[in-house]
């Protein structure tokens, strides 16, 4: 049983749940903007206007009877992802990576029938995964295929990059790698590996699994200390643009790097978790305060990304 004193945490500038909720989410995120991020379909449409690309939309299932179209549409597809528009924390997302005769192969390697997918769609429509249990719509997206440089670190699932954006400034980033324990999902609390990324250059800092520091990926066995993300500046600018698109002052931006299309926005999160601090080995508070203290904010996403790269080197 390890414990840490609150004074030490304060000293490290660790942002905690209560302060995040009261001082950042409640203050900087207007309720009006929530539907934009809580509904993936709306997110897709709104960020498209700000030149932020997302995985290609294949189908939107709004009503029970539209599920029958899904079978025809999916007939000649190899990979796709079914997502509930109002889902949270990756709940209800089913990723199909291939076909095996009549059956579809899930990311975990399990084979499922079309009927299974149809039931899944029906559950989504009934609101099983939606935040308040309200009726939902299901979206079917093109499968993202990660670039091999990153994909090789991850067990099965697509690695994604979480960037916390505060008032339009990217303040902290991490790479999330799926593991066997996380069932091919990139959810840290299920056992995915979080690798802190240096905002200045997109290089890995250190890595954690289940909040414990690690140096090697538990499944692939690869060292996690020399990962570098290409097109880093472009990704920061993309994340920064989402601020203009949604108006949310404090959010998490989830990006993936597709082998064909480059960086894509997966989803936005108005209540990003705190584990990113563990992956980076430093607290968010000093960076957030530094931005709050800015007298003259930068107006373009490019300026903000540049400012962040300059200011938030690994040392801060």
């Amino acid at each position: 049983m390890g414990w840490i004193s609150p004074f030490k945490l304060n000293q490290l500038g660790m942002l905690n749940m209560n302060r995040r909720n009261v001082d950042y989410i409640a203050r900087y995120n207007s309720r009006m903007s929530y539907p934009l991020v809580d509904n993936k379909l709306k997110t897709k449409l709104v960020v498209a206007e700000y030149d932020v690309r997302t995985p290609r939309l294949l189908q939107v299932v709004r009503q029970q009877h539209e599920i029958s179209h899904f079978r025809q549409m999916a007939e000649d597809l190899n990979g796709f992802a079914i997502k509930p528009a109002k889902g949270s924390g990756g709940k209800g997302i089913t990723v199909i990576t291939g076909r095996d005769g009549d059956e579809y192969v899930k990311a975990s390697g399990a084979r499922v029938s079309v009927a299974y997918l149809e039931r899944h769609l029906s559950n989504i429509l009934a609101g099983l995964y939606s935040l308040a249990g309200t009726p939902d719509v299901a979206i079917v997206e093109n499968l993202v295929e990660s670039i091999p440089e990153l994909a090789r670190y991850s067990f099965q699932g697509v690695p994604d990059i979480r960037i916390v954006v505060f008032q339009g400034y990217p303040v902290m980033a991490m790479l999330r790698l799926a593991t066997k324990a996380s069932d091919g999902k990139a959810n840290l609390h299920q056992g995915a590996v979080g690798v802190g990324l240096n905002i200045a250059n997109g290089r890995s800092l250190n890595a954690v699994q289940f909040n414990r520091p690690i140096t090697l990926h538990p499944d692939t066995g690869l060292a996690l200390d020399d990962i570098a993300i290409d097109d880093w500046q472009e990704m920061l600018v993309m994340a920064s643009r989402c601020y203009e698109a949604t108006g949310l002052g404090y959010m998490g931006v989830d990006l993936v790097v597709d082998v064909n299309e480059g960086p894509l926005l997966l989803e936005l999160n108005a209540r990003p978790g705190l584990a990113i601090q563990m992956a980076n080995g430093r607290g968010l508070l000093p960076r957030l305060r530094q931005i709050e203290a800015l007298r003259k904010p930068h107006f373009t996403p490019e300026d903000r990304a540049a400012f962040a790269m300059e200011t938030f080197t690994a040392k801060v």
Binding site: G2, P6, K8, M14, N16, A126, Q190, N211, Q277, G281
Partner: protein, 505 residues
């Protein structure tokens, strides 16, 4: 930005909490509502007994009864006298009990009972009209002796009070005045004193007091002297000149012309018996709340059925407080925000252990059945609806099995909210599929732990007593919950969660 926007908030919270506590204290003082359960208060039961012999004529017995006796509060009055007409009449400022009957022969007994609570704060009300000394006429040779005694007393005193004290001392056999032997005989002493004071221009009167002693019977009234000092009536012991009323003396008759007027009877006699009882302080407060102006603030006026409902309802804020504390400050995960309160409320009805067993078994059986339902490929709404029916079957089954086995506590599982249980089972089942059994275990033990904590708080007799009798204390609970809503510090669980950060220090 931080400090400026929050100061008015904290001041408001402080005011809220202060208001809650001060209203509670005020009601405790004014209405005597006790802070703790089971507090007892002494109550004196005094019974006046009138004996007389009827002479075959219509009878009207009229007895003076206490009206605002200093140091006591009257909480009930009743007369016992079969066959008599009875009423309490108010006649030129004095209260009298009147019994009447047409034909009476032989010995008769009438009773009048009064219940009194000692209360220091009760004082004799000030007279509406300023009393004036009664004119007194003396015959010689008393007149000279009286004048002389009064002059001596006046010479040694400065106020009506000291004058009275000096006069009483002078009238004692060893008081050193020769004139006393001429004036004083044993049976006119108090009357003489009264007349002399009136003669000296000090309004005076005789009051009758009753020394209260537990379980005494056949007691007589004792005369006390009262003088008016310009603002209020002061009481003196006519023998010792001691000022003030001794403790446990009840002034039965003040400002009244006679104790008993009897028409149509002979040989009348009044005697008193008394008993000291203890009554729950709460009951006392309740019986008085309707008379008191503050009564409207309490729930005692409601019908009993509603009171019972509020007793339960007013416990909920405590449960909410526990949930808020556990989630915000301690950081325990629960399934559904207020699920623990609902479970805790059910526990209050079922008691803890049977409730826990019943709840865990309903949810466990439900989870097994839900597993079968999920293989049927049902739509969500119909799945939950089916689950609700199953949950009702499970509780009915458990009740029947429990009853057959001789536990009638099995019946009480019906207190659990069925729809909520059905939803819980559904959520747990999904949680199991998505996050694994560990997360289910964490959340369900968290919920049960918080529920048990809330139950333990809600089921203490003190909690029920305070929430129901001092509903204003909920302002304090509200204030605390609002304060917690502003808590931005680390949760206890985060001190553990973030402990690997030590490595980066």
């Amino acid at each position: 930005m931080t400090s400026r926007s929050r100061i008015p908030f904290f001041v408001a919270i402080l005011l809220l909490i202060a208001a809650g506590i001060s209203i509670a204290v005020w009601r405790h003082v004014e209405l005597g509502i006790p802070w703790f359960t089971g507090e007892q208060k002494p109550v004196w039961m005094v019974e006046a007994r009138i004996d007389f012999t009827g002479t075959g004529e219509p009878v009207l017995a009229s007895m003076n009864i206490p009206d605002q006796p200093p140091g006591f509060r009257i909480i009930s009055e009743q007369a016992a006298s079969p066959g008599y007409g009875f009423s309490i009449v108010e006649d030129s400022g004095e209260r009298r009990a009147e019994w009447s009957k047409r034909d009476i022969n032989g010995p008769q007994t009438l009773y009048f009972k009064v219940q009194l609570v000692p209360d220091e704060r009760v004082r004799t009300g000030n007279p509406r009209r300023r009393p004036k000394p009664e004119p007194v006429f003396w015959e010689e040779p008393q007149a000279t002796a009286v004048e002389e005694l009064l002059q001596q007393a006046a010479a040694r005193s400065s106020t009506p009070e000291s004058m009275t004290r000096e006069l009483i001392k002078l009238l004692q056999p060893d008081g050193g005045a020769q004139n006393t032997t001429l004036l004083v005989s044993n049976d006119n002493y108090i009357d003489l004193l009264n007349r002399m004071l009136n003669h000296a221009g000090i309004p005076a009167r005789i009051a009758d007091g009753l020394a209260l002693e537990d379980a005494r019977r056949r007691q007589q009234l004792r005369p006390f002297l009262q003088i008016y000092d310009g603002t209020s009536w002061l009481t003196f012991d006519p023998r010792t000149a001691e000022q003030g009323l001794p403790e446990n003396v009840l002034l039965w008759r003040q400002a009244a012309t006679s104790l008993l007027d009897l028409v149509g009877g002979d040989d009348s006699e009044v005697s008193f018996s008394m008993l000291r009882q203890t009554v729950p302080a709460l009951q006392l407060a309740q019986s008085q709340s309707s008379e008191n102006g503050l009564g409207f603030l309490s729930l005692y006026q409601l019908p009993i059925e509603e009171q019972g409902m509020f007793r339960m309802l007013l416990l909920l804020p405590l449960g909410a407080l526990v949930v808020a504390f556990m989630r915000i400050v301690v950081g325990i995960k629960t399934s559904g925000t207020f699920m623990p309160i609902l479970i805790a409320v059910a526990f209050v009805q079922t008691t803890l252990i049977p409730g826990l067993i019943a709840f865990v078994s309903v949810v466990a059986i439900g989870l097994v059945m839900r597993g079968y339902l999920s293989s049927l490929n049902l739509l969500l709404v119909s799945r939950i609806s089916a689950l609700i029916i199953l949950v009702i079957f499970i509780t009915a089954g458990l009740s029947i099995v429990g009853y057959q086995m001789g536990f009638n506590t099995g019946m009480t599982v019906t207190f659990f909210p069925m729809v909520i249980i059905a939803w819980t089972i559904e959520r747990m089942s999904i949680l199991w599929e998505e996050e694994g059994a560990r997360e289910v275990l964490v959340q369900s033990t968290g919920s049960l732990f918080v529920a048990v904590c809330a139950f333990l708080l809600m089921s203490t007799p003190l909690a029920e007593h305070l929430t129901f009798n001092f509903p204003e204390l909920h302002f304090v609970v509200l204030g605390l919950i609002l304060l917690m809503g502003q808590y931005t510090g680390y949760k206890l669980s985060e001190l553990r969660r973030f402990h690997p950060m030590k490595a980066y220090d």
